[in-house]
């Protein structure tokens, strides 16, 4: 992808109490591109998105939206950003029309014609006078998308945009987002923990786990051209194994959680994958599990199903 990125994120770090939520997140997003931000619940996707929207302040690192560098950038740039963060929480005691009029007004949109156009686009024009409190989750999501695109932003940030939608609604949402990116040239960052969703929508993916970027790139590249293998090891002596591996070339310990280790084995630099268990046994390390984890689906499912690992 050429040209100056619309969004550039550099080494974001954030800690909540003792928990390192983000640890060196970096990526970029270009105009017209759809970037899927994939990770299990609690992986750090929402925190990253909240930092990008200045809802949460990073401990270190920076990001650039269009021409503004944060921290310290001009707030006015958010007039060119649309966002839907963790479900469409709107003002329930007000109607759909009032919600859009207020939220659009904050972004400088006062034209009733534009409100009508967007409400028709998300299929809620006939319900515009109804209070949002009476809306289904799917209707709220659609209204949430409406408020995010009302001012025709250059960057659209969507956190789990298909939450609560039925299959037809999910497809409509996907088609809507795709048309925004392709026809308007909008750069779209969307987070999801649903692999299928990302596969169907994203041009490129970022996989985040425990605050680290564990994979990044176009889907086909990730599947076919990984320069390394990911391996999951489970052992009662995981800590010692991690120390032993760190001293070996071509081997990286990406994560350690109790008895589990996630290793990155660089092709051509480290021992062949098949030799690793033997080497570990020879050093006297007991292994309860040693498995490849380098398919995107495997990696993702493993993160979402493994409890502590996914947090």
């Amino acid at each position: 992808m050429s040209g100056t990125p619309i969004l550039e994120v550099d080494s974001l770090r954030k800690r909540y109490g003792r928990r390192q939520v983000l640890d060196g997140i970096r990526f970029e997003l270009h105009a017209g591109e759809i970037l899927g931000f994939l990770g299990a619940n609690g992986a750090g996707k929402s925190t990253t998105i909240r930092i990008l929207l200045s809802l949460v302040f990073p401990d270190s690192g920076s990001f650039r939206i269009l021409d503004q560098h944060f921290p310290g950038g001009k707030r006015s740039v958010y007039g060119r950003v649309g966002a839907l963060v963790e479900g469409a929480e709107l003002f329930e005691h007000l109607s759909a029309w009032e919600n859009l009029r207020m939220l659009g007004g904050m972004q400088g949109v006062r034209d009733p014609g534009r409100l009508e156009e967007v409400l028709r686009w998300v299929g809620l024009y006939d319900r515009r006078k109804d209070k949002v409190g009476g809306f289904s989750q799917g209707m709220r999501q659609r209204l949430g998308l409406a408020q995010a695109i009302l001012h025709q932003p250059e960057l659209l940030i969507l956190d789990e945009p298909t939450t609560g939608l039925d299959p037809a609604g999910m497809r409509e949402m996907r088609e809507g987002i795709r048309s925004l990116a392709k026809e308007s040239g909008m750069a779209v960052l969307f987070s999801s923990h649903i692999l299928r969703e990302v596969e169907l929508l994203a041009d490129r993916v970022q996989i985040i786990n425990l605050g680290h970027m564990v994979a990044e790139g176009r889907l086909e590249d990730l599947f076919e051209h990984l320069p390394y293998r990911l391996v999951e090891v489970r052992s009662a002596r995981a800590g010692e194994i991690a120390d032993w591996l760190r001293a070996r070339p071509g081997l990286e310990v990406l994560n350690r959680q109790e008895e589990r280790l996630l290793l990155k084995v660089h092709r051509g630099q480290a021992p062949e994958l098949a030799e690793l268990p033997q080497l570990l046994f020879r050093e006297g390390f007991p292994l309860a599990e040693f498995r490849a984890a380098d398919s995107l689906e495997d990696l993702f499912l493993d993160r979402t199903e493994s409890g502590e690992m996914g947090r």
Binding site: Y16, R50, F57, S76, G79, A83, E89, L90, E98, M106
Partner: protein, 282 residues
């Protein structure tokens, strides 16, 4: 400025359409007429109580109760009842939106945090003012209608103060203004707790707890609290009664005004500092 005015209009629209804000006004619109009708139709007992206390020193001729005096009785709602209504709304403006998640949708837009917070604060303060003036003017209007005007008799801490009918109206408006100032302090306190909390109940409970405890300390004749009492805002809740005295004790009024303004400035300053640095995680 244009953006701030729009944000202010948004906050007014949101807040004054909320059921809890409407309930506050409805409570006043229902309770005050009931109380005033009660005083007008069955006020003899209150009047006898007044007269009994005064009969040893004064010869009481005619009726002590009139629309002005009845308004003073109603203004006693400013001690606890009105503060409760004020906290319900002031506690919701930030914390309520944090709880429902609408705060993040507001703060992820063009207006900055300071702008949003200041608009919310102005609305909270305006609600407190509106509530006091609605209560007072409704009581005054109904009082004039049901009982007519007359001299205003005020029982002060150390005697009785009488104001002629001509002067009474202006003094009552002054009482409402100073009562509103005290309620602005309550709103500021609740707003401060609202910035710290992430649900709308916590600031209400916290603010009411502080008010009740401080009222107790202000009212208890315990000498060990003598040093503290002048600094408690609840010790100056009676500011509205001071401006009804004749002559007005200007030094006491000045002290009370300064204490209330001090609380308002400090609490809102703290709210500002905290909110501008707070991570919005809800």
């Amino acid at each position: 400025m244009k953006l701030w005015l729009f944000q202010l209009a948004v906050e007014f629209h949101k807040t004054f359409r909320k059921p809890r804000a409407i309930v506050g006004f409805l409570a006043v619109l229902v309770v005050i007429p009931v109380v005033m009708i009660g005083i007008a139709t069955g006020g003899e007992a209150i009047e006898k109580e007044f007269a009994r206390g005064l009969s040893e020193q004064f010869l009481v001729l005619g009726s002590l109760m009139n629309g002005n005096t009845a308004t003073i009785l109603v203004l006693n709602f400013l001690w606890v009842h009105v503060p409760l209504l004020v906290t319900l709304v002031a506690g919701d403006t930030v914390a309520g939106e944090a709880a429902t998640g609408t705060l993040r949708i507001t703060l992820s837009r063009r207006p900055g945090r300071g702008l949003v917070l200041s608009a919310k604060l102005v609305v909270s303060l305006c609600y407190a003012i509106a509530l006091v003036f609605l209560l007072g003017l409704l009581a005054l209007g109904l009082g004039q209608l049901l009982m007519g005007g007359g001299d205003l008799m005020v029982l002060t801490g150390y005697g009785i103060s009488m104001l002629g009918e001509q002067e009474a109206f202006g003094r009552l408006l002054l009482a409402l203004a100073t009562g509103a100032l005290a309620m602005m302090t309550v709103a500021s306190l609740t707003f401060f707790f609202g910035v710290l909390a992430e649900n709308s109940l916590t600031p209400v409970i916290a603010a009411m707890a502080v008010i009740v405890v401080c009222l107790a300390i202000s009212g208890l004749p315990i000498s060990s609290f003598d040093w503290l009492r002048p600094w408690l805002f609840t010790s100056h809740f009676d500011l509205w009664t001071l401006v009804l005295e004749n002559p007005v004790p200007m030094d006491l009024v000045r002290d009370s005004l300064l204490v209330h303004l001090g609380y308002i400035l400090v609490l809102n300053g703290l709210s500002w500092v905290i909110f501008l640095r707070k991570d919005i995680r809800t």
